[in-house]
Protein backbone atom coordinates (compact mmCIF):
# COMPACT_ATOMS: atom_id res chain seq x y z
CA UNK A 1 0.00 0.00 0.00
CA UNK A 2 1.37 3.43 -0.91
CA UNK A 3 2.12 5.72 1.98
CA UNK A 4 -0.77 8.18 2.33
CA UNK A 5 0.31 11.70 1.35
CA UNK A 6 -0.03 13.11 4.89
CA UNK A 7 3.36 13.54 6.50
CA UNK A 8 4.44 11.67 9.59
CA UNK A 9 6.31 13.34 12.44
CA UNK A 10 7.59 11.79 15.64
CA UNK A 11 8.27 13.71 18.83
CA UNK A 12 10.71 11.67 20.87
CA UNK A 13 13.78 11.53 23.08
CA UNK A 14 16.97 9.81 21.97
CA UNK A 15 17.41 7.69 25.10
CA UNK A 16 13.73 6.81 25.53
CA UNK A 17 12.87 3.17 24.83
CA UNK A 18 9.26 4.02 24.01
CA UNK A 19 10.49 6.40 21.32
CA UNK A 20 12.69 3.62 19.94
CA UNK A 21 9.66 1.35 19.68
CA UNK A 22 7.93 3.81 17.38
CA UNK A 23 11.06 4.55 15.34
CA UNK A 24 11.60 0.84 14.83
CA UNK A 25 8.01 0.21 13.77
CA UNK A 26 8.13 3.07 11.26
CA UNK A 27 11.40 1.71 9.88
CA UNK A 28 9.99 -1.82 9.58
CA UNK A 29 7.06 -0.42 7.62
CA UNK A 30 9.45 1.49 5.35
CA UNK A 31 7.91 4.83 6.28
CA UNK A 32 9.56 8.23 5.95
CA UNK A 33 9.12 10.46 8.94
CA UNK A 34 10.35 13.69 10.44
CA UNK A 35 11.86 13.46 13.90
CA UNK A 36 11.86 16.13 16.58
CA UNK A 37 14.01 15.64 19.67
CA UNK A 38 12.31 16.54 22.94
CA UNK A 39 13.92 17.30 26.26
CA UNK A 40 11.80 15.33 28.72
CA UNK A 41 12.50 17.80 31.51
CA UNK A 42 11.42 20.69 29.29
CA UNK A 43 8.64 19.55 26.95
CA UNK A 44 8.11 21.76 23.91
CA UNK A 45 4.81 23.60 23.27
CA UNK A 46 4.20 21.07 20.49
CA UNK A 47 4.48 18.14 22.89
CA UNK A 48 2.23 19.81 25.46
CA UNK A 49 -0.28 20.45 22.70
CA UNK A 50 -0.20 16.93 21.32
CA UNK A 51 -0.01 15.03 24.60
CA UNK A 52 -1.85 17.20 27.11
CA UNK A 53 -2.79 14.26 29.35
CA UNK A 54 0.67 12.82 29.99
CA UNK A 55 2.99 15.50 28.51
CA UNK A 56 5.51 12.83 27.49
CA UNK A 57 7.18 11.38 24.44
CA UNK A 58 6.61 9.63 22.13
CA UNK A 59 3.89 11.42 20.19
CA UNK A 60 3.17 10.50 16.60
CA UNK A 61 1.73 13.21 14.39
CA UNK A 62 -0.02 12.07 11.22
CA UNK A 63 -2.18 14.22 9.02
CA UNK A 64 -2.29 16.89 11.71
CA UNK A 65 -3.60 14.52 14.38
CA UNK A 66 -1.65 13.06 17.26
CA UNK A 67 -1.46 9.58 18.73
CA UNK A 68 0.30 8.88 22.04
CA UNK A 69 1.23 5.91 24.28
CA UNK A 70 3.72 3.69 22.47
CA UNK A 71 1.68 0.47 22.31
CA UNK A 72 -1.33 2.45 21.04
CA UNK A 73 0.93 4.12 18.46
CA UNK A 74 2.30 0.77 17.28
CA UNK A 75 -1.20 -0.60 16.71
CA UNK A 76 -2.17 2.61 14.91
CA UNK A 77 0.83 2.26 12.61
CA UNK A 78 -0.02 -1.38 11.93
CA UNK A 79 -3.69 -0.62 11.16
CA UNK A 80 -2.92 2.41 8.97
CA UNK A 81 -0.08 0.93 6.91
CA UNK A 82 -1.13 -2.66 6.48
CA UNK A 83 1.85 -4.12 4.58
CA UNK A 84 4.32 -6.13 6.67
CA UNK A 85 1.94 -6.60 9.61
CA UNK A 86 3.45 -6.59 13.09
CA UNK A 87 0.41 -8.16 14.76
CA UNK A 88 -0.67 -11.76 14.05
CA UNK A 89 -4.05 -12.46 12.48
CA UNK A 90 -5.16 -15.11 14.97
CA UNK A 91 -7.23 -13.64 17.85
CA UNK A 92 -5.67 -15.83 20.56
CA UNK A 93 -2.14 -14.99 19.43
CA UNK A 94 -3.09 -11.31 19.43
CA UNK A 95 -4.31 -11.66 23.01
CA UNK A 96 -1.05 -13.33 24.09
CA UNK A 97 0.98 -10.58 22.41
CA UNK A 98 -1.07 -7.88 24.17
CA UNK A 99 -0.75 -9.71 27.49
CA UNK A 100 3.05 -9.74 27.41
CA UNK A 101 3.21 -6.14 26.15
CA UNK A 102 1.19 -5.17 29.18
CA UNK A 103 3.38 -7.33 31.41
CA UNK A 104 6.48 -5.61 30.03
CA UNK A 105 5.20 -2.12 30.80
CA UNK A 106 3.27 -2.92 33.97
CA UNK A 107 5.69 -5.29 35.74
CA UNK A 108 9.09 -5.70 34.11
CA UNK A 109 9.91 -2.09 33.26
CA UNK A 110 9.00 -0.66 36.69
CA UNK A 111 11.08 -3.39 38.38
CA UNK A 112 14.06 -2.56 36.17
CA UNK A 113 13.54 1.13 36.89
CA UNK A 114 13.52 0.42 40.61
CA UNK A 115 16.88 -1.36 40.35
CA UNK A 116 18.23 1.84 38.85
CA UNK A 117 16.71 4.26 41.32
CA UNK A 118 17.30 2.40 44.58
CA UNK A 119 20.18 1.10 46.62
CA UNK A 120 20.95 -1.35 49.43
CA UNK A 121 18.13 -3.65 50.53
CA UNK A 122 15.62 -1.91 48.27
CA UNK A 123 17.78 -2.57 45.27
CA UNK A 124 18.28 -6.21 46.21
CA UNK A 125 14.50 -6.64 46.36
CA UNK A 126 14.15 -4.91 42.99
CA UNK A 127 16.76 -7.20 41.42
CA UNK A 128 14.87 -10.23 42.75
CA UNK A 129 11.69 -8.84 41.24
CA UNK A 130 13.38 -8.46 37.85
CA UNK A 131 14.53 -12.06 38.03
CA UNK A 132 11.01 -13.23 38.88
CA UNK A 133 9.65 -11.35 35.88
CA UNK A 134 12.35 -12.66 33.56
CA UNK A 135 11.63 -16.20 34.76
CA UNK A 136 8.02 -15.79 33.64
CA UNK A 137 9.14 -14.51 30.24
CA UNK A 138 11.69 -17.29 29.92
CA UNK A 139 8.98 -19.86 30.60
CA UNK A 140 6.67 -18.25 28.05
CA UNK A 141 9.41 -18.26 25.41
CA UNK A 142 10.28 -21.87 26.15
CA UNK A 143 6.81 -23.39 26.60
CA UNK A 144 4.22 -20.80 25.64
CA UNK A 145 2.21 -19.99 22.53
CA UNK A 146 5.27 -18.97 20.54
CA UNK A 147 7.70 -21.69 21.49
CA UNK A 148 10.07 -22.81 18.79
CA UNK A 149 9.82 -19.50 16.97
CA UNK A 150 12.77 -17.25 16.46
CA UNK A 151 10.76 -14.18 17.39
CA UNK A 152 7.32 -13.60 18.90
CA UNK A 153 6.40 -12.37 15.42
CA UNK A 154 7.62 -15.60 13.77
CA UNK A 155 10.55 -15.28 11.36
CA UNK A 156 10.37 -11.51 11.50
CA UNK A 157 10.09 -9.27 14.52
CA UNK A 158 6.59 -8.21 15.49
CA UNK A 159 4.88 -5.97 18.01
CA UNK A 160 5.92 -7.83 21.16
CA UNK A 161 9.51 -8.15 19.95
CA UNK A 162 9.50 -4.38 19.43
CA UNK A 163 7.96 -3.61 22.84
CA UNK A 164 10.11 -6.02 24.83
CA UNK A 165 13.24 -5.52 22.77
CA UNK A 166 13.23 -1.74 22.94
CA UNK A 167 13.96 -1.44 26.60
CA UNK A 168 15.72 -4.74 27.26
CA UNK A 169 19.05 -3.13 26.41
CA UNK A 170 18.75 -1.29 29.72
CA UNK A 171 19.28 -4.65 31.43
CA UNK A 172 22.87 -4.85 30.17
CA UNK A 173 23.44 -1.14 30.80
CA UNK A 174 22.16 -1.28 34.38
CA UNK A 175 24.17 -4.44 35.02
CA UNK A 176 27.29 -2.49 34.31
CA UNK A 177 26.35 0.81 35.94
CA UNK A 178 24.81 -0.73 39.06
CA UNK A 179 27.10 -3.75 39.21
CA UNK A 180 24.23 -6.21 39.59
CA UNK A 181 23.43 -9.40 37.73
CA UNK A 182 20.17 -9.00 35.86
CA UNK A 183 20.19 -11.13 32.76
CA UNK A 184 22.53 -14.05 33.32
CA UNK A 185 22.57 -16.15 30.10
CA UNK A 186 22.69 -19.35 32.13
CA UNK A 187 19.53 -18.52 34.05
CA UNK A 188 17.67 -17.11 31.04
CA UNK A 189 19.09 -18.85 27.97
CA UNK A 190 16.05 -18.56 25.71
CA UNK A 191 15.44 -14.89 26.56
CA UNK A 192 19.14 -14.17 26.06
CA UNK A 193 19.14 -15.85 22.63
CA UNK A 194 15.96 -14.03 21.61
CA UNK A 195 17.40 -10.65 22.67
CA UNK A 196 20.66 -11.27 20.86
CA UNK A 197 18.78 -12.19 17.67
CA UNK A 198 16.59 -9.11 18.05
CA UNK A 199 19.55 -6.78 18.46
CA UNK A 200 21.18 -8.28 15.34
CA UNK A 201 18.34 -7.14 13.10
CA UNK A 202 19.41 -4.33 10.77
CA UNK A 203 16.51 -2.03 11.61
CA UNK A 204 17.14 -2.54 15.34
CA UNK A 205 20.83 -1.70 14.97
CA UNK A 206 19.82 1.49 13.19
CA UNK A 207 17.38 2.44 15.95
CA UNK A 208 18.98 1.67 19.30
CA UNK A 209 21.72 4.10 20.35
CA UNK A 210 25.27 2.83 20.81
CA UNK A 211 25.80 1.14 24.16
CA UNK A 212 28.51 3.66 25.11
CA UNK A 213 26.06 6.53 24.84
CA UNK A 214 23.50 4.63 26.91
CA UNK A 215 26.11 3.80 29.55
CA UNK A 216 27.25 7.40 29.78
CA UNK A 217 23.65 8.57 29.99
CA UNK A 218 22.75 6.07 32.71
CA UNK A 219 25.84 6.91 34.75
CA UNK A 220 24.98 10.60 34.55
CA UNK A 221 21.42 10.07 35.75
CA UNK A 222 22.51 7.75 38.56
CA UNK A 223 25.11 10.32 39.74
CA UNK A 224 22.48 13.02 39.77
CA UNK A 225 20.01 10.86 41.68
CA UNK A 226 22.53 9.85 44.31
CA UNK A 227 23.70 13.40 44.85
CA UNK A 228 20.13 14.76 45.02
CA UNK A 229 19.04 12.79 48.04
CA UNK A 230 19.72 9.79 50.21
CA UNK A 231 18.43 7.45 47.55
CA UNK A 232 14.72 8.01 48.16
CA UNK A 233 14.32 10.03 44.96
CA UNK A 234 12.38 8.16 42.31
CA UNK A 235 13.50 10.20 39.35
CA UNK A 236 13.87 7.10 37.20
CA UNK A 237 13.23 8.99 34.03
CA UNK A 238 15.66 6.90 32.03
CA UNK A 239 13.76 3.69 32.53
CA UNK A 240 10.16 4.78 32.69
CA UNK A 241 9.64 7.74 30.38
CA UNK A 242 6.89 7.70 27.75
Amino acid sequence: MDQPPSSVKLLGSWADSHTHRVQLALKLKGLEFEYQEEDFINPSPALLLHNPVYKKVPALLHGGRSIVESVVILQYIDETWTDNPIMPADPFERAVIRFWCHFTDDKLAPAVGLVFSSSGEGQKAAVDQVHENLKLLERELKDGAFKGRRFFGGDKIGLLDIVLGCGSYWLAVFEEVMEVKLIDPESFPVFHAWLRDFEEQQEVKETIPAIDRLLEYARGIRQMMLSLSNGSSINNAAATSG
Binding site: V53, Q75, R98
Partner: protein, 224 residues
Protein backbone atom coordinates in the same frame (compact mmCIF):
# COMPACT_ATOMS: atom_id res chain seq x y z
CA UNK B 1 -24.64 -13.79 15.97
CA UNK B 2 -23.03 -15.86 18.71
CA UNK B 3 -20.89 -18.77 17.62
CA UNK B 4 -22.27 -21.50 19.86
CA UNK B 5 -19.54 -23.98 18.92
CA UNK B 6 -16.90 -22.33 21.11
CA UNK B 7 -16.76 -23.45 24.74
CA UNK B 8 -16.58 -20.26 26.77
CA UNK B 9 -15.97 -20.05 30.52
CA UNK B 10 -15.58 -16.92 32.63
CA UNK B 11 -13.82 -17.12 36.00
CA UNK B 12 -14.85 -14.15 38.08
CA UNK B 13 -15.78 -12.81 41.48
CA UNK B 14 -18.93 -11.07 42.62
CA UNK B 15 -18.60 -7.39 43.50
CA UNK B 16 -15.65 -7.14 41.15
CA UNK B 17 -15.88 -4.39 38.54
CA UNK B 18 -13.52 -6.12 36.15
CA UNK B 19 -15.56 -9.30 36.20
CA UNK B 20 -18.66 -7.19 35.47
CA UNK B 21 -16.97 -5.65 32.43
CA UNK B 22 -16.29 -9.05 30.88
CA UNK B 23 -19.72 -10.36 31.85
CA UNK B 24 -21.33 -7.37 30.12
CA UNK B 25 -19.19 -7.74 27.01
CA UNK B 26 -20.15 -11.39 26.57
CA UNK B 27 -23.83 -10.63 27.00
CA UNK B 28 -23.71 -7.71 24.58
CA UNK B 29 -22.21 -10.02 21.98
CA UNK B 30 -24.81 -12.70 22.69
CA UNK B 31 -22.15 -15.27 23.64
CA UNK B 32 -23.24 -18.37 25.55
CA UNK B 33 -20.88 -18.93 28.45
CA UNK B 34 -20.44 -20.66 31.76
CA UNK B 35 -19.62 -18.57 34.81
CA UNK B 36 -17.38 -19.84 37.60
CA UNK B 37 -17.40 -17.91 40.86
CA UNK B 38 -14.01 -17.67 42.50
CA UNK B 39 -13.46 -17.06 46.20
CA UNK B 40 -11.05 -14.14 46.32
CA UNK B 41 -9.59 -15.40 49.59
CA UNK B 42 -9.23 -18.98 48.42
CA UNK B 43 -8.36 -19.15 44.75
CA UNK B 44 -8.95 -22.42 42.97
CA UNK B 45 -6.21 -24.59 41.47
CA UNK B 46 -7.89 -24.08 38.12
CA UNK B 47 -7.58 -20.30 38.33
CA UNK B 48 -3.95 -20.40 39.41
CA UNK B 49 -3.17 -22.69 36.46
CA UNK B 50 -5.07 -20.50 34.00
CA UNK B 51 -3.50 -17.24 35.17
CA UNK B 52 -0.14 -18.15 36.70
CA UNK B 53 1.33 -14.69 36.10
CA UNK B 54 -1.24 -12.56 37.93
CA UNK B 55 -3.27 -15.20 39.78
CA UNK B 56 -6.49 -13.21 39.61
CA UNK B 57 -9.89 -12.87 38.00
CA UNK B 58 -11.26 -12.29 35.52
CA UNK B 59 -9.98 -15.02 33.23
CA UNK B 60 -11.83 -16.00 30.08
CA UNK B 61 -11.29 -19.46 28.63
CA UNK B 62 -12.25 -19.92 24.98
CA UNK B 63 -11.91 -23.42 23.54
CA UNK B 64 -9.53 -24.34 26.33
CA UNK B 65 -7.28 -21.30 25.85
CA UNK B 66 -7.09 -18.82 28.75
CA UNK B 67 -6.98 -15.06 28.36
CA UNK B 68 -6.28 -12.80 31.33
CA UNK B 69 -6.29 -9.03 32.00
CA UNK B 70 -9.62 -7.28 31.52
CA UNK B 71 -8.82 -4.97 28.59
CA UNK B 72 -7.10 -7.81 26.77
CA UNK B 73 -10.11 -10.05 27.35
CA UNK B 74 -12.47 -7.34 26.06
CA UNK B 75 -10.41 -6.87 22.91
CA UNK B 76 -10.27 -10.64 22.44
CA UNK B 77 -14.05 -10.92 22.73
CA UNK B 78 -14.31 -8.23 20.07
CA UNK B 79 -11.78 -10.03 17.84
CA UNK B 80 -13.61 -13.36 18.04
CA UNK B 81 -17.25 -12.23 18.01
CA UNK B 82 -17.41 -9.39 15.53
CA UNK B 83 -21.01 -8.31 15.98
CA UNK B 84 -21.75 -5.72 17.24
CA UNK B 85 -18.23 -4.19 17.00
CA UNK B 86 -16.74 -2.62 20.13
CA UNK B 87 -14.26 -0.46 18.22
CA UNK B 88 -14.69 2.06 15.40
CA UNK B 89 -13.37 1.24 11.91
CA UNK B 90 -11.08 4.24 11.62
CA UNK B 91 -7.53 3.57 12.98
CA UNK B 92 -7.28 7.04 14.53
CA UNK B 93 -10.52 6.61 16.46
CA UNK B 94 -9.47 3.12 17.48
CA UNK B 95 -6.26 4.63 18.84
CA UNK B 96 -8.30 7.13 20.86
CA UNK B 97 -10.53 4.39 22.30
CA UNK B 98 -7.44 2.39 23.28
CA UNK B 99 -5.85 5.49 24.80
CA UNK B 100 -8.85 6.21 27.01
CA UNK B 101 -9.30 2.55 27.97
CA UNK B 102 -5.65 2.56 29.05
CA UNK B 103 -6.24 5.84 30.93
CA UNK B 104 -9.05 4.20 32.88
CA UNK B 105 -6.76 1.32 33.75
CA UNK B 106 -3.77 3.54 34.67
CA UNK B 107 -5.52 6.40 36.43
CA UNK B 108 -9.23 5.90 37.10
CA UNK B 109 -9.25 2.39 38.58
CA UNK B 110 -6.34 3.03 40.99
CA UNK B 111 -7.83 6.28 42.26
CA UNK B 112 -11.15 4.55 42.85
CA UNK B 113 -9.36 2.02 45.07
CA UNK B 114 -7.58 4.83 46.90
CA UNK B 115 -10.84 6.65 47.60
CA UNK B 116 -12.47 3.52 48.98
CA UNK B 117 -9.46 2.56 51.11
CA UNK B 118 -8.69 5.97 52.61
CA UNK B 119 -10.29 8.28 55.15
CA UNK B 120 -10.72 11.94 55.99
CA UNK B 121 -8.60 14.45 54.10
CA UNK B 122 -6.75 11.79 52.12
CA UNK B 123 -10.10 10.49 50.89
CA UNK B 124 -11.32 13.97 49.95
CA UNK B 125 -8.15 14.65 47.99
CA UNK B 126 -8.42 11.32 46.19
CA UNK B 127 -12.07 12.03 45.35
CA UNK B 128 -11.07 15.37 43.83
CA UNK B 129 -8.39 13.69 41.79
CA UNK B 130 -10.99 11.16 40.64
CA UNK B 131 -13.36 13.92 39.58
CA UNK B 132 -10.48 15.55 37.69
CA UNK B 133 -9.75 12.37 35.75
CA UNK B 134 -13.41 12.07 34.76
CA UNK B 135 -13.36 15.62 33.45
CA UNK B 136 -10.21 14.87 31.46
CA UNK B 137 -11.99 11.86 29.93
CA UNK B 138 -15.06 13.94 29.20
CA UNK B 139 -13.02 16.49 27.25
CA UNK B 140 -11.11 13.82 25.36
CA UNK B 141 -14.22 11.88 24.40
CA UNK B 142 -16.06 15.01 23.31
CA UNK B 143 -13.16 16.18 21.18
CA UNK B 144 -12.02 12.92 19.67
CA UNK B 145 -14.83 10.36 19.68
CA UNK B 146 -18.33 11.65 20.35
CA UNK B 147 -20.74 11.46 17.40
CA UNK B 148 -23.99 12.22 19.21
CA UNK B 149 -24.42 9.12 21.35
CA UNK B 150 -26.21 7.53 23.04
CA UNK B 151 -22.89 5.69 23.44
CA UNK B 152 -19.25 6.64 22.86
CA UNK B 153 -19.33 3.99 20.17
CA UNK B 154 -22.45 5.54 18.60
CA UNK B 155 -25.70 3.57 18.36
CA UNK B 156 -24.43 0.51 20.13
CA UNK B 157 -22.07 0.26 23.13
CA UNK B 158 -18.37 -0.23 22.55
CA UNK B 159 -15.24 -0.78 24.58
CA UNK B 160 -15.33 2.49 26.53
CA UNK B 161 -19.05 2.16 27.15
CA UNK B 162 -18.48 -1.32 28.60
CA UNK B 163 -15.59 -0.15 30.78
CA UNK B 164 -17.20 3.01 32.13
CA UNK B 165 -20.78 1.72 32.10
CA UNK B 166 -19.76 -1.28 34.20
CA UNK B 167 -18.12 1.10 36.66
CA UNK B 168 -21.16 3.37 36.98
CA UNK B 169 -22.59 1.69 40.08
CA UNK B 170 -19.15 1.80 41.68
CA UNK B 171 -18.94 5.51 40.96
CA UNK B 172 -22.33 6.02 42.61
CA UNK B 173 -21.15 3.90 45.54
CA UNK B 174 -18.00 6.01 45.92
CA UNK B 175 -20.06 9.19 45.83
CA UNK B 176 -22.18 7.82 48.68
CA UNK B 177 -19.12 6.79 50.70
CA UNK B 178 -17.39 10.15 50.36
CA UNK B 179 -20.55 12.24 50.43
CA UNK B 180 -19.62 14.26 47.34
CA UNK B 181 -20.53 14.02 43.68
CA UNK B 182 -17.62 12.86 41.56
CA UNK B 183 -19.40 12.55 38.22
CA UNK B 184 -21.22 15.87 38.13
CA UNK B 185 -23.71 16.21 35.32
CA UNK B 186 -22.78 19.83 34.65
CA UNK B 187 -19.08 18.95 34.47
CA UNK B 188 -19.27 15.54 32.75
CA UNK B 189 -22.57 15.48 30.82
CA UNK B 190 -21.42 13.01 28.16
CA UNK B 191 -19.99 10.54 30.66
CA UNK B 192 -23.16 10.68 32.73
CA UNK B 193 -25.39 10.24 29.70
CA UNK B 194 -23.59 7.25 28.17
CA UNK B 195 -23.08 5.51 31.51
CA UNK B 196 -26.79 5.93 32.31
CA UNK B 197 -27.70 4.65 28.86
CA UNK B 198 -25.46 1.62 29.38
CA UNK B 199 -26.86 0.47 32.72
CA UNK B 200 -30.36 0.54 31.25
CA UNK B 201 -29.55 -1.92 28.47
CA UNK B 202 -31.58 -5.12 28.73
CA UNK B 203 -28.52 -7.24 28.08
CA UNK B 204 -26.65 -5.97 31.14
CA UNK B 205 -29.29 -4.57 33.52
CA UNK B 206 -29.27 -7.53 35.88
CA UNK B 207 -25.48 -7.39 36.22
CA UNK B 208 -25.58 -3.88 37.68
CA UNK B 209 -25.32 -4.14 41.48
CA UNK B 210 -27.23 -1.24 43.05
CA UNK B 211 -25.02 1.16 45.05
CA UNK B 212 -27.13 0.48 48.18
CA UNK B 213 -26.06 -3.17 48.06
CA UNK B 214 -22.42 -2.13 47.64
CA UNK B 215 -22.81 0.21 50.61
CA UNK B 216 -24.34 -2.47 52.80
CA UNK B 217 -21.51 -4.79 51.94
CA UNK B 218 -19.03 -2.09 52.90
CA UNK B 219 -20.71 -1.64 56.27
CA UNK B 220 -19.96 -5.27 56.98
CA UNK B 221 -16.41 -4.87 55.66
CA UNK B 222 -15.02 -1.32 55.75
CA UNK B 223 -12.27 -2.02 53.22
CA UNK B 224 -14.74 -3.24 50.54
Amino acid sequence: MADQSKGVKLYGTSFNGHTTMVDCALRLKGVAYEYVEEDRKNKSEALLKLNPVHKQVPVLVVDGKPIAETLIILQHIDDVWKDPPFLPEDPYKRAKVRFWADFVSKKVVPIMHTVVASKGDEQKTAAEEFAGYLMTMEDGIREELWTGGPFVNGDSPGLLDVVMGSSYMWIKFIEAVVGVKVAKREKTPLLCSFMEAFVELDAVKELMTPPEVLLQRRMGNPSA
